[in-house]
Symmetry: C2
Amino acid sequence: MATHEFVEMFRERCRERGLTFTHQRQVIYQAVMSAKDHPTPEAVYEKVRRRIPSISLGAVYKNINTFIVAGLLKEVSLHHGTLRVDANLGAHHHLVRNVCGSIVDLDEHDVEPARVRTKLPSGFRVERQNVEIVGICESCVRKQSSQ
Amino acid sequence: MATHEFVEMFRERCRERGLTFTHQRQVIYQAVMSAKDHPTPEAVYEKVRRRIPSISLGAVYKNINTFIVAGLLKEVSLHHGTLRVDANLGAHHHLVRNVCGSIVDLDEHDVEPARVRTKLPSGFRVERQNVEIVGICESCVRKQSSQ
DNA sequence: CTAGCTGCAAAGTCTTTGCCAGGAA
DNA sequence: TTCCTGGCAAAGACTTTGCAGCTAG
């Protein structure tokens, strides 16, 4: 995509969601979009700094959060804020409640594993797979609808 | 399991791994084992404090880390330390490299989703599923074997 | 007795917040 | 002009570290 096209597309997405278009936002968004991996805010900051040396890390955080709230970006992990400890050493999967944050186990035998139909990067050795079934529990549904 | 049995089992696990058995460790381990969800260090601390009021949060952190290194406990998320941003809004899955931490996308169509064969908690509404294929990449294998 | 652990407090990350000057609409 | 944003610095949350006294083996 040409730079001009990208800028216009971003301008349109900002308009749709009522966000002010700024140069900083455009560069931050492009930095995330062009990353193959899923960068940390620090990595985004380093990338943006090459084009806007005066950018602050705080602005990167603020805008990443703004974009997440606006639905322009997502977080990879639902529970990155704090360590979660697991005493279940066997293979198992997780049922994650995306509102209250509670995580409970699903036994390995209750989940038929996902199958990958594509070729993985050469030399990649699969050790295991984690499946997260993400949703909302009954009591959170009630709380939301009673608001 | 009776308390006495549990203590002996834990004492044995400590012996196997060369860890000193202490009352604090035993209570911390039991607090995690008995939790249905996957508690945060803070939650473990609160639980342990009911039995050992003098326990410090630092001791809880130190021991959780000791247990993880010893293989007695695991972390739920491989990337909880910092936010990871995802610009791919469509359904997709992740290939996670557990040594270097890099995360790349797997297209939704390249993964046949997992299927849950058990009954989920009543009223739980599934929104999506995340599949993480976890392993080690070629360059990390080389680095490890050259050490 | 010795090594290793505990509690305490200080320090270190990662992230958010408050403020004011400056830019977008 | 009016509102919102950006940069800066301080504060806040989560976690680790250093140390002196105490406990397990």
